[in-house]
Symmetry: C2
Subunit: 186 residues, 2 copies
């Protein structure tokens, strides 16, 4: 019955993305899964443990995805990243980095570390992709590739957040212009 444990992580992931870490409770998980709150504590003794599991799972998933894309040309790889965010947007969800960073200071250290680790993984991969893609002529942009990666990620992250508040079209407007900018030759 590893099934329950996986379902808890999946639901917690969704709850963190919709309500935020500090606003979801064990009851939000135990009710739909028709288990008792103590069953969650059995698998994840503290809420921090559950948070860590969610973040770790996301980091793993990201690494698996990027590994699969590694044979593609860089413009296609970046397109895949955009598609990942696109899918989240269609589900009405935001990215973990976007929802966890405002609450970061309320987290115990072990969870903070995991969030930083996840974010670093995103930035490192994007930086490499942009760097290599520029060398091969797929992308055109000024400045350091790492700085540009931070810009790209910040746009993707915030476009999901802003879509919530300013309407769903916001996401498309930001991501479309962002992608055009990177391909543009000066």
């Amino acid at each position: 019955m590893q099934d329950t444990k996986e379902k808890i992580v999946a639901l917690a992931d969704q709850l963190i993305r919709t309500k935020g870490y500090n606003a979801f409770s064990y009851k939000d998980i135990s009710d739909p899964l028709e288990i008792k709150n103590a069953a969650i504590h059995y698998h994840f003794p503290t809420k921090t443990d559950l948070g860590i599991a969610v973040v770790d799972f996301e980091t793993e998933r990201f690494k698996e995805h990027t590994a699969k894309w590694s044979g593609m040309p860089e413009d296609k790889q970046l397109k895949q990243l955009f598609e990942t965010f696109n899918r989240k947007h269609k589900e009405g969800l935001v990215c973990l980095m976007g929802t966890l960073s405002p609450d970061y200071k309320t987290f115990p250290e072990p969870l903070q570390e995991k969030v930083t680790e996840m974010s670093t993984a995103f930035a490192d991969w994007t930086s490499q992709c942009l760097e290599n893609g520029r060398k091969k002529g797929f992308f055109a942009f000024d400045g350091d590739a790492y700085d540009r990666a931070l810009l790209v990620l910040s746009n993707l992250l915030a476009s999901l957040l802003m879509s919530r508040v300013m309407g769903p079209k916001t996401y498309g407007k930001i991501s479309a212009q962002l992608y055009k900018d990177l391909l543009k030759k000066n």
Copy 2:
């Protein structure tokens, strides 16, 4: 004693920016101000009322600031916007839009509306500033000015959030590159 009311709003603002809306409590305000939690309820019957006051105050402050800048050339006006975010970064704070958007779905409608109103005010002003600034040759960018405004705001918003998680240098890297991009002539 309008003083207490103002102090409550100012502290709530700071708490929302550091811990997030759902993580701060009336005790976080009543303790440092040395008043009872009922005193907060006297001024703001519900937490929603307090949230609305914080957002309204920020919207007003933004409109006052931009009104003061209205005589400047557009590149200086935009610089002022960047400076505003810069100051928040130095204080270790994030912007209201950044901290409130992940929790948006947990808000009652009246607060949601205020957050949307504030965000729209930001976007409208930035859009106008970019539009006029491009016409006068201060800025160079492709596409619609409103779309570009969303990009700029998303970068500023997210750079404050990401700085928390990835270190304080993140903010400077993003904002510097962003500003350069806008001034750049092709």
